[in-house]
């Protein structure tokens, strides 16, 4: 059977992987070792390694464009993937990936991890990503005939697919109140509640393009909500930073230079240290977190907690990268879910009406203008939405509307 011309497959049947073998050396855990150790029903890890070695030689990807594969009743959650060297590596000729909605905050029990592992051993390559960039558990590589069985075993184990395509993408959140003293709202619960509220929109793409939601419970933004989510919910507080002066003194005694390290790094210079007491002019504080990060035992966010709602972040494609910008400067923690659901509906209505195919909400706002977007969703403009008022006089005055008023 084996043709000597194949060359890449020696007597033991395993592809030679000289370039990748080099990446098993060195102190950082090796993904090559992971691929080599993976066992799964489809037995595809070995051919994956062989194809990857070929890419390392050729310096191009050997994956073809995705195809339409999925499970009955869902329009996403499975990424179709086909090899362009499938004859050489038949076990990855079809190598589809499932996105599985991660548990909030990426918490697991050992039992849950084993359940997922066992399902993926029965039905796939035995390779995963923990986790994908949006936050999903990624089950990497299987064939079409395994998709439905994998899906059913997942749902019976209490897991479900994540989003792909022009849909709500799997919402994600930071560790929040589960293990962080800085959490200004219950990010894990909010993320879960939103995910459950939008199961249909998550599984059945019906939007102009992808819509990502991320919940970060404080301005440190451990899930990069401001850079990566169309809708960014970032925790903050309204009242005064809580100070424990004894602990401030302890930090000073332990070597922190309160004036230089803390006060001088404050972006609004709202802090003073007289050698004994730290005072904060909270009226000027922008809740940046620097002083709290530096002295977590001495300083804490206030108690009137909630979040800033921001909109529009995305990566460069198509019209350039955007960071999210402020839409609502503060929503109290206990009003977040209801406020967001109402707001999201108004945003989607506007997007449905005016968005073009594959136009992210941030790009639509750039195209029509933030003011027109605010009109469209029924929000009044407030100065917190901008870094500065316009510096050009090209104003679209609206005399007709003003006369009406």
């Amino acid at each position: 059977m084996a043709d000597a011309d194949e060359g890449v497959k020696p007597a033991n049947g395993k592809p030679e992987t000289k370039l990748l073998d080099e990446l098993e050396n060195g102190p950082w855990p090796s993904f090559v070792t992971e691929i080599k150790s993976a066992s799964g029903a489809t037995g595809s890890a070995e051919d994956l390694l062989g194809q990857l070695e070929l890419s390392y030689e050729d310096k191009v990807s050997h994956w073809k464009h995705g195809g339409l594969v999925g499970v009955l009743g869902y329009g996403g959650g499975v990424i179709g993937r086909y090899s362009d060297v499938g004859e050489q590596f038949p076990k990855v000729a079809h190598f589809h990936t499932l996105r599985v909605n991660q548990p909030a905050g990426w918490f697991y029990t050992s039992e849950a991890l084993r359940t997922i592992s066992d399902i993926w051993e029965r039905h796939g390559s035995g390779l995963t990503n923990m986790h994908g960039s949006t936050g999903d558990i990624i089950l990497l590589g299987t064939t079409t005939d395994h998709l439905e069985a994998t899906f059913q075993e997942l749902t019976h184990a209490g897991f479900d697919l994540g989003g792909s395509g022009s849909a709500v993408r799997t919402p994600s959140c930071c560790v929040g109140m589960a293990r962080c003293e800085w959490a200004c709202f219950d990010a894990m619960k909010l993320c879960y509640d939103l995910t459950m509220a939008y199961q249909d929109e998550l599984h059945r793409p019906a939007l102009p393009y992808k819509f990502k939601i991320k919940c970060a419970a404080c301005p440190n933004d451990c899930v990069a909500a401001i850079a990566r989510a169309d809708l960014s919910v970032i925790g903050t507080w309204k009242d005064d930073i809580r100070i424990d002066q004894t602990e401030v003194a302890n930090y000073a005694a332990a070597g922190i230079d309160i004036q230089k390290d803390i006060c001088a790094n404050c972006p609004t210079k709202c802090m003073d240290w007289d050698g004994k007491e730290l005072s904060i002019k909270n009226r000027d504080c922008v809740r940046c977190m620097h002083c709290i990060n530096a002295m977590p035992k001495a300083l804490r966010p206030g108690v009137e907690k909630g979040a800033v709602i921001l909109i529009g972040a995305k990566a460069p494609i198509l019209q350039g990268a955007l960071l999210s910008s402020v839409l609502i400067p503060f929503v109290a923690a206990d009003e977040l879910l209801d406020t967001l659901k109402e707001l999201i509906q108004r945003i989607w209505d506007f997007w449905d009406e005016y968005g073009t195919n594959r136009e992210r909400i941030g790009e639509l706002i750039q195209r029509v203008g933030l003011a027109a977007f605010l009109d469209g969703i029924g929000l009044d403009p407030v100065p917190e939405m901008i870094s500065a008022p316009r510096d050009n006089p090209y104003i679209y005055y609206q005399p007709a509307k003003e006369d009406e008023a």
Partner: protein, 362 residues
Amino acid sequence: MTTTPLEPRLTDVGPPRYDKFLPPIVLKNYGAWKYHETLAPGVLCHVAESGDRLYTVRAGTPRLLSIQTLRKYADLADKYCGGYLRFTSRNNVEFLLVDPALIEPLKQELAALGIPVGGTNNAISNIVHTQGWVHCHAAATDASGLVKSMMDTLIDHFTHEDLPAKLRIAVACCLNMCGAVHCSDIAILGVHRRPPKVQSELLSKACEVPTLVASCPTGAIRPVPGVGGKQSVEVLEEECMYCGNCFSVCPAMRMADAENDGLSIWVGGKVSNARSAPRFSRLAIPFLPNNPPRWPEVVEAVVKIVDVYRGEARKYERVGEWIDRIGWPRFFELTGFEFTRYHIDDFKHAGMSFARSTHIRY
């Protein structure tokens, strides 16, 4: 009644409830944590209002994990953590302990398994990255190999908190940036440098021409009659900046080019609001060659940035804040990176990045 365990067919069950996998100490102290301390690099202690203490041991992973390794993590969680663990937004795994006496034995077992502990505070945390040649059709480079090569060299900055501030590195294999590298202290971005090669035969079968034309940010794609009167497109090559979005919507616009694809390096972005506002990374090196399996040119450039930053930045200064203080000319001088015409923006709003003052450091 059916005997098959998979009846009824379940859909839209959603993820596990948010509190389903939380350890008892977390359920008890949920929302009532008071402060935390760092006991050692990679080892945190969170103290609750109740006085309870939760210990976290953070370890690096390659993100691409076999189920065998996941089971290994599960075994460790059973042995040391009552069966509880979590992952972080930067692909680290965190073991959650209530008994501090188990921290050292866990660390020793992790060390024996070759799993590094660290990534906290003023350290380099794990590198966020994309699929690369492992699983993506659009990738201009591999991601896992780049990350492995960099972390092998930078690992001491993962296991030690020896930098002025936290340092966040990310890799994306193309401009789609599913790794959202655009707000990282150091970003490595795979780039194409040649226009797509139009495959007319495939195009007429597989692509919608209007969608394809609309996919181009610079309007460089025009419909033309193809072979046999079928629809095709042409690319105005001087207007193409190789973003690859046309390939995303149409497989007949092949971008991959072994000779000309490679890497660019960007610096100074951040997402945290601490001190300065979140911001994008800026171009440091427009092109380095794709050189698997170890990408020595990329590793060398990243190490250079880390070394210079470590030597020059003040305590708490992120890379971007450090460059704010010293200025870009000094950044290029200190790193020895060449400043080229490619560093000057020429896309929309480019003028915003021109120097519009006489604030010049001599």
